[in-house]
Every structure is written in C-alpha cells, then in structure tokens.
C-alpha cells in the first residue's frame, strides 16, 4: 500500500496551486492530516469485513479517492496508476458484480475526478519534461521514456467506457428520459449503487477527457443522454455539478458558441454565489479556484459576444477582472495580450494523447499553446467590433466612406469588417435536444445592411420593463 501512505496530508485546491507558499501549505497539512484520519475511520467502520485475496479493499477505495500530492515523485504516480488499474480491474472483471458499500455518496465522484486529475497532471508533467521546461531530471526522462504505456490514453478511456457499459448507464438514462423505470434496463451491475454511480460519473469524466484532448464536439456529444438541469444527479455533488458546467462552457467556447458558453458559465456561477454560504466544506474549497477561472472565461466570452449578465455575476466579474474586462471590451491590439493571459490561466491544462518525442525536445509543443493559437485566430478577427458597434449605434443610416473617415480606416477595410461583424453575430445557439444541436440566431442587438455604400442600421430594442416596478410600488401602497 505504498500509494496509500503517500496520499496523506495533501489538499486538493492547494495542490493545484503550484506557487502556494510553503507556510500556508504546512499549516494546512496539519489540518488535512487530522481530517484524513477521520475519513479513514469512517471507511473502516463502513465495511471492515471486506477482504479480497488478503488485501484491504477499503484502503484501496480510500486511496483511489484521495488526492495525490502535486509534487509527488514520479514513482508515486506510477504506483497510483497501478493502484487504479487493480481497483478497476477488480470492480469490472470479477465474477459478477462486486459487493461493496460506497464509503460516501460522493465517493464515486471523487474516484473518477482524482483518476482523471492524475491522468491530466501526469500527461502535462511528461510533456513539460520532454520540452525540458519542467526541470525534470535525466532519470525522470528515462523513466518516462521507458514506460510509454503508463497513464495511456486508451487505458483511461477504456476504464471510463467500461464503467459506463457495465452499468448500462446510457440505457438507464435513456429510459429515465422516456419516463420509464431505469431499473428494468440496469441489469445485474447497473442496479447496484457502486456501479450506477461510477457509471454515471464516468460520463462526466468522458466529457472532461475529450475536452482535455481538444475534441470539443465529442465532449458535448457525450452528454447527449444527461439532461442539464438542477435536478440532474450530478447536481447533488457540488464538485461534479461545477466541473460539468466548466467543461461544457469551455467546449462551447472553443466551438465559438459564445452565447451557449456564457449561459453555461453564468448558470453555475449564479448557483455558486447563491449557495456559498451553505457550503463551507472541503468539497467547496476545491471549487474556489475553478470559480475564478470561470469568471475569466466568461469575461472572454462576453467581450467576444456582448451579453447582459446577471447582476451579481457582473458585479463579481468587475471586482475580479475589472481592468482586463474593460480592455477586452474596448478591443484593439492591446486587448490581445489580455485574451491570451486569461485563456492560459483559466482553461484546463490541455494534453496530448501520445507520449512526447523525448529525442527531439524542440518538436514538442505545449498542447495549450496549440489550442490558444487556434482560438486567438477568432479573437483577432473581432478586434475592431467594439469600435464599429459604438459608431453604428449612433446612426440609422450612414455613408460607408464617411464612417471610414471617422474610424480612420480604408473604406474597403471597413466593408470587410462589417461583413465580419455580421458573420460573427450569427451564432448557433442551443434551444432543445442534445448539447450540439441549436439554431442560428443573431446575438447582437445591432443589425445593419449595405445598399451599395449606404449602411442601414437597425437596433433590437428592449422595451421598458414596467411590471416589476408596478408590482413593487403596488406592494408598498397596500
């Protein structure tokens, strides 16, 4: 149980912060160690009698759900991988379903979450070592080179798909959707909580893995059978709820469906801001960092696709990223750097599915840089949009040449920019059905048409909202 011992005394959200200073870490370690002890006691009392071939399965279960130290040496990462393999092999390939009680109701989420997190950080680390940036030693390079199969992409996907299939999860969800009893299709495995929960969260896990690999279409397609609403099963586990929306939002953003991305981010940010007072536990701590990342992403999306946000979200956004947000909204070449910074700090650490080329360090590129490059192509295309919009808003008809003189660009440049503006304002937006579905809509409140060199401008106005005001005053006078 090498892995199990090394897991002690680490804290999830601190671990993600590589630059956390040691002092804070040390004091948290103490608290964490105390908390961990408690957890272990619970586990033992929950199923102390379970022994497989002389090994203590409960310890394995606990280890699988416990975060690995951010700076854990490579050997621990290898051991941890082996530990997962044995555990999942036991769960999936024993004779018949394994009879296990779930240690806690969110255990299944923790296992899948930690499994993917370790996969993610292993791949990032391996890539950094190959690029000779992570400061990896020669020994580390050799070790990674010799074990290309460890934390392999196929095996991670294999685990997730097998868990989904064993539990007949897609069939169960389809039955729920149709209003039928899921237990009828659940089968021998799927009717047990262990398999049901693992299967369910594996779907969320797939969403995440596909997104990390840059396959945003497949990521969203994975959720075809899950209905995104507050009643969904994942909504019962805060971290799962949160993670799901983060990756759904990122995927939409990368597909340039900014309106949908904004909707996903604001849904969960509103939810968090309303419930934060009730959620003062460790699970919630892990959410804090991702929360800030989502504000950064929503800032990017709103700058690219101006949208009115919920008031609380808007206020927090101003508080956290006010300056950057204003710069991005203003557009122009200065804003590009801000987009890049926020993207790199807020997006997941993208990974490549195959081991890097250790012999040619110069051939390895950080996958995040690659995705950034593709993303920025779209951002660059919209840099003049804010200026254009501010001028167009003032007129109902305008001569192209005159406007070009105002903005100080060539009239033909302006013409193409108008075309770009129009093209970018037409986005696919989800209405109903699978997450990939949607209809083309106009996301801008400003529209125009060119008649030769004459620009006709129109606005989609929102009428005054009187009912609220009326009701409030009525309540006062009563």
């Amino acid at each position: 149980m090498l892995a199990g011992q090394n897991f002690n005394g680490t804290n999830r959200h601190l671990r993600e912060d590589s630059d956390t200073d040691d002092e804070v870490l040390a004091s948290t370690l103490v608290e964490e160690a105390l908390r961990d002890d408690g957890d272990y006691d619970d586990l033992e009392s929950a199923g102390g009698s379970l022994q497989i071939s002389g090994e203590n399965i409960q310890q394995r279960l606990a280890a699988a759900a416990t975060p690995l130290d951010f700076q854990a040496p490579l050997q621990n990462r290898f051991d941890s991988y082996d530990n997962y393999c044995t555990l999942f092999h036991f769960i999936l390939n024993s004779d018949g379903p394994v009879d296990l009680e779930l240690p806690t109701y969110y255990w299944a989420w923790d296992v899948i979450d930690e499994f993917i997190y370790q996969f993610n950080s292993f791949c990032s680390h391996r890539n950094a070592v190959a690029r000779k940036e992570g400061g990896g030693s020669e020994e580390e390079r050799r070790l990674l080179c010799d074990h290309p199969q460890t934390w392999g992409c196929y095996s991670v996907l294999n685990v997730l798909y097998s868990l989904i299939q064993r539990s007949q999860m897609n069939e169960q969800l389809a039955a729920i959707k149709k209003g039928q009893d899921p237990n009828e299709v659940a089968g021998e495995y799927g009717s047990r909580p262990l398999y049901r929960m693992l299967g369910y969260f594996s779907i969320i896990g797939l969403l995440r893995v596909h997104c990390l690999l840059g396959d945003f279409t497949l990521a969203l397609k994975t959720l075809d059978d899950i209905e995104l609403n507050k009643k969904a099963v994942f909504a019962r586990v805060m971290a799962a709820h949160f993670t799901t929306y983060y990756y759904v939002g990122v995927s939409y953003m990368m597909m340039r469906r900014y309106a949908d991305a904004i909707k996903a981010f604001s849904h969960i940010l509103v939810y968090v801001s309303r419930t934060k007072n009730f959620q003062k536990n460790a699970q919630f701590d892990s959410v804090t960092k991702k929360n800030d990342q989502m504000y950064a992403l929503i800032a990017i999306c709103v700058a690219l696709c101006p949208t009115r946000l919920d008031d609380t979200i808007h206020a927090s956004l101003r508080e956290k990223y006010g300056e950057q947000f204003t710069k991005m909204q203003r557009g122009g070449p200065d804003a590009l750097q801000i987009y890049e910074q926020l993207f790199m700090s807020a997006c997941p650490k993208f990974i490549s599915p195959i081991p890097p080329d250790f012999d040619k360090p110069e051939n390895n590129v950080d996958p995040s840089q690659h995705h950034l490059r593709v993303f920025m192509a779209d951002v660059r295309n919209s840099m003049l949009a804010p200026t254009l919009k501010s001028y167009l808003k003032l007129y109902t008809t305008m001569d192209l040449k005159k406007l070009a003189a105002f903005i100080e660009v060539d009239p033909e440049v302006l013409r193409t920019q108008l075309l770009v503006y129009k093209q970018r304002s037409r986005q696919t937006r989800w209405i109903e059905g699978g997450l990939l579905e949607g209809e083309t809509i106009n996301t801008s409140d400003l529209d125009f048409a060119l008649q030769g060199d004459l620009i006709h401008i129109s606005e989609a106005k929102v009428g005054r909202r009187l009912v609220d005001w009326y009701l409030r005053n009525l309540a006062k006078t009563y």
Partner: protein, 233 residues
C-alpha cells in the same frame, strides 16, 4: 458546424455510434469516406473529426494527404467553426512557425486561407490561392472546391448586402464577364442592373428595427390579486 447526416452511409453511422470509433482498423474505412466526400461534394464533419481523433491516438497510421483533404473540405463550409475544430485535433506542433516539416507547412498554408475567409478578405483569398502551386496541389482532390467556396462567399454577401457594386463582387468571387453573370443569375438568382448587383431581401439583410416588449404573465399578479381578496372590505 454542419450536422447534415442525410448523406452519411449506415456503416459509418454504425462506427460513429459505437466504440469502433476508437478502433484503429476503421481508419481505412474513414479514409475512403473522406475520399468519397471529396468526390461527391458531400461533407460529414463528425466522421472527419472521428478520423482525426484516430490519427491523434495512432500517429503511425496518419496519412498527411487525408488530413489536408479534411482541412480543405472544412474550408468549404466556412464561416462555421469546423476548420478550427479540426485544427484542435492535430498534433500540437503542426502550427509552429517556422513549420517543422512539409506537412506542417501545408497545414499553415491552409490555416492562412481559413483566416482570410473568416476575415472576409475574399479578394486576397483568391490571390493567395493562385500565388503558389502548393495550394493547387492541396485542393486538387476536392471536387468543385472553387464553386463551393463561391457559394459560401455569396451567402455571406447576401447576409449583409442589398446592393453591391459589380466590380467589387467580381473580385470577391474571382469571376468576370459571362462566368460572373451566369453565377449571379443562375446559382444565386440575383439581378444585375448596370454596374450594380441587386440581392433580394432576406431575413438577414432586412435590418429591421425591433422592439422586444415585456411579456406579462397573469401569474405575476397572483399575489396582488390574492391580497385584494384577503383585505377586509
């Protein structure tokens, strides 16, 4: 994103909806399907993305020519995000400058074409396309590439314009004289009057001012009315 699945054969649908989409043995089937799309002017983004994913997982199976064909096909559906979605699945070093190998060079060239199209710089697009023989090699497998691109340019033009100068549009479409007139009248159904091309009104180029009115539901007044009843007269 284009999800027209009407032309998707059953065996492809079968692979896409099962775990066979990860099976390296299906690579050749998908490759043939890409070839077929190139020849028949059809397009199936989900199948093409699945093939790119197989290449991503099994780099030794990669066929550069098929990847560039997929990218060229994705260009023909601009301004959808498809081209970018394909790029996301390529090896991370495919976009480094300067390019590390001929394949990366080809990808970068196509990327620059895609950026020109997305920036609506159509005249520059055609000029770039004709500036280097490498482009001709890249698009040669894709039947009717220029025609497909023209149709897309025409549709973005119709989004923003009601009337447009003929010479300007000729540059955008890279067509002149008879070729231009037959395309405008035949494929687009627009009218040419002197040196102005008239585009009929459509949903996108009307630019009508709309006012969204508040939608008042009776439920909102529920409490007020209830109060009125409860209040002693």
């Amino acid at each position: 994103m284009t999800f027209d699945t009407s032309t998707r054969p059953e065996h492809i649908q079968g692979i896409l909806s099962s775990l066979d989409r990860y099976n390296p043995e299906t690579v050749t089937i998908f490759q043939d399907y890409v070839q077929q799309q190139c020849e028949n002017r059809t397009y199936d983004s989900l199948a093409n993305l699945a093939l790119l994913k197989l290449y991503q997982f099994n780099p030794h199976l990669t066929r550069d020519e098929t990847i560039t064909n997929i990218l060229v096909k994705a260009l023909t559906v601009f301004p959808s995000a498809d081209f970018g979605l394909c790029l996301h699945l390529l090896p991370a070093n495919a976009l480094t400058e300067p390019p590390i190998d001929p394949f990366a060079e080809a990808v970068l060239k196509l990327f620059s074409l895609s950026r020109l199209l997305e920036a609506c710089e159509y005249r520059e697009f055609w000029m770039t396309l004709e500036s280097d023989d490498l482009y001709a090699d890249l698009i040669t497998d894709c039947a009717g590439f220029e025609e497909l691109i023209r149709l897309r340019i025409a549709s973005t033009t119709a989004q923003s314009n009601r009337e447009i100068n003929r010479e300007l549009l000729e540059g955008w479409l890279n067509l002149t004289a008879d070729g231009f007139e037959s395309f405008i009248k035949g494929s687009c159904g627009w009218a040419i009057e002197g040196d102005v091309v008239k585009i009929p009104l459509n949903k996108e180029n009307e630019a009508k001012t709309t006012v969204t009115r508040e939608n008042v539901k009776f439920d909102q007044f529920q409490r007020v009315i209830k109060r009125a009843y409860e209040q002693p007269a």
